[in-house]
């Protein structure tokens, strides 16, 4: 007989793990199986581009729960197994090794796969992405043997990786196709600040450049730009976003495209199938109800908790405020809200002091803050975002006025 669980969770990352934990916390006593395509127990991904790459934290300290926990809670882990198809009528999923697993409820928590460059040379040895432990372990094996590194992509992953590698003494060139780093997620003040911070630490930040191809025989030796320049590098890190891993669900008829659509209870358009985390396309209250996918631990964890409650029969709609963090060098960036679509940005404090924040407004309402080494603004600004408040602009721009005084 084929194995089956009352709840099958596909994906053993932050959201998959939290879904299982939250089911048990909500007194769900059915059987639970987590199917993960990596060989490892559920672990935290954010340190991969930070402390883990730097060698400051051993892998066992990244585990979301110790090994014994899963057994104690009666949560089965089937690791190293990829789900390749979903049959919503039969309530079963098919694995890459030809088995099927039955479910009553399915939680899709697969996250995404790193987007690949579409140019020649991406299969060369020495070309890396930063998504899994295996990715970073392989990079760590090679990094000691190289002097020059090219990082392609100036988003969080690229910048964090560039920061660690330059601190490890590498000559790092960072290549960004847009005219500023963090262009998708932050305003220009924050972008320019991080470009300067990286340059001050010796990172060669190049903006508005297009990669033509990666060059080398078997091993990568450099990156060729569209203007013909070849930048030598025996290690290339590609950090250009992820593609949500939703093919099997879409093939099964789930609504979606860039991710799989879910409602406020994290239910997909297919009955008994829920989706959470990086792969879940949802109407977010903090994006004016626009459909978004959020790639963050906050979203992964909070949606997983909602999905668990949905299955446990408790109706708790997802409406958590988004928050993010990024650590680079001695700079701690904390973000609350979603700045997409802002029409004004107020800078509080002087970026040259290395402690400042940017408040993003849309039609006078606070929609997000980026706070650099400024936890106070992050904490107090959170309430402005939650309430979508409309503080006085002049006082907002005065760093001497605490944000909590602007709540009235």
């Amino acid at each position: 007989m084929e194995p089956s669980y009352d709840v099958v969770i596909v994906g053993a990352g932050h959201s998959g793990a939290q879904a299982a934990i939250a089911l048990r916390q909500n007194a769900f006593d059915g059987t639970i199986g987590i199917i993960g395509d990596e060989p490892d127990l559920p672990y935290e991904r954010p340190p991969l581009s930070k402390d883990y790459l730097a060698g400051d934290k051993a892998f066992d300290r990244l585990l979301i729960r110790p090994e014994g926990f899963w057994k104690e809670r009666g949560i089965a882990l089937e690791l190293g197994t990829r789900i390749v198809a979903v049959d919503p009528n039969a309530h079963a999923v098919a694995t890459d090794n030809g088995h099927t697993i039955g479910y009553d409820k399915l939680i899709w928590a697969t996250g995404g796969a790193p987007r690949r460059l579409s140019c020649a040379g991406t299969d060369l040895a020495g070309v890396h992405t930063v998504r899994t432990r295996a990715d970073v372990d392989q990079m760590k094996l090679e990094v000691g043997k190289v002097d020059r590194v090219a990082v392609i992509g100036g988003g969080y992953i690229g910048l964090e990786t560039a920061a660690v590698l330059s601190q490890l003494g590498k000559k790092v060139v960072l290549l960004e196709a847009m005219d500023r780093v963090l262009a998708r997620v932050a305003g220009e003040t924050v972008s320019r600040f991080y470009e300067d911070a990286h340059r001050a630490r010796g990172v060669d930040v190049r903006l508005g450049v297009a990669v033509d191809c990666l060059v080398g025989e078997d091993q990568v030796t450099g990156v060729r730009l569209s203007d013909g320049t070849i930048l030598p590098a025996k290690l290339v890190v590609v950090g250009i976003g992820i593609v949500p891993a939703v093919r099997p669900l879409l093939d099964a008829g789930a609504r979606g495209g860039n991710g799989v659509e879910v409602d406020g209870l994290c239910q997909t358009s297919l009955s008994d199938i829920l989706a959470v985390g990086d792969c879940a396309l949802h109407a977010n209250r903090f994006a004016d109800g626009d459909w978004v996918r959020l790639e963050s631990v906050q979203n992964a964890s909070d949606q997983a908790t909602v999905a668990a409650k949905t299955i446990a029969g408790l109706k708790a709609e997802y409406n958590a405020v988004p928050w993010f963090w990024s650590n680079q060098f001695d700079l701690k960036l904390q973000t609350v809200g979603l700045s997409t679509g802002y029409d004004a940005a107020m800078v509080r404090g002087d970026p040259r002091s290395r402690s400042f924040s940017v408040v993003y407004l849309k039609r006078g309402r606070v929609i997000a803050l980026d706070c650099v080494n400024s936890t106070r603004d992050y904490v107090q600004g959170r309430r402005l975002v939650l309430g979508r408040l409309t503080p006085d602009a002049q006082r907002l721009a005065d760093p001497a006025v605490p944000l909590k005084e602007l709540e009235g």
């Binding site: 729960r65 906050q298 963090w325």
Partner: protein, 105 residues
């Protein structure tokens, strides 16, 4: 091994083995205290590992740092004995420390 005493949200009392050098948050997580989310993994960027110290341990453990102090303000359950457990490094001096997991915000 030194012990950490924990009172969970449901009022359960646990005594957990606490390795020196690990944070109290890691010890809670590894000890199976599910309700400690510790979403940021211990880098002092959230407040999901909030605990209340047994008052008699406050002096030995010490006060929160500046960022931690700010983050604690996000909790509805901030008290004079509040700490983020990821910011307390456990060592033999803290053998027998008692913490209560703060209610969910």
């Amino acid at each position: 091994m030194p012990k950490l005493n924990v009172i969970t949200r449901e009022g359960r009392y646990l005594a957990i083995d606490a390795p020196s050098g690990h944070s109290v948050m890691e010890t809670l997580r590894d000890g199976g205290v599910d309700e400690v989310l510790a979403l940021c993994g211990g880098c002092c960027s959230c407040a999901t590992c909030h605990v209340h110290l047994d008052p008699q341990w406050m002096e030995r453990v010490g006060p929160p740092g500046p960022d931690e102090d700010e983050l604690l303000e996000t909790s509805d359950h901030r008290a004079p004995n509040s700490r983020l457990s990821c910011q307390i490094r456990f060592d033999a001096r803290l053998d027998g420390l008692t913490v209560t997991v703060a209610p969910e915000s």
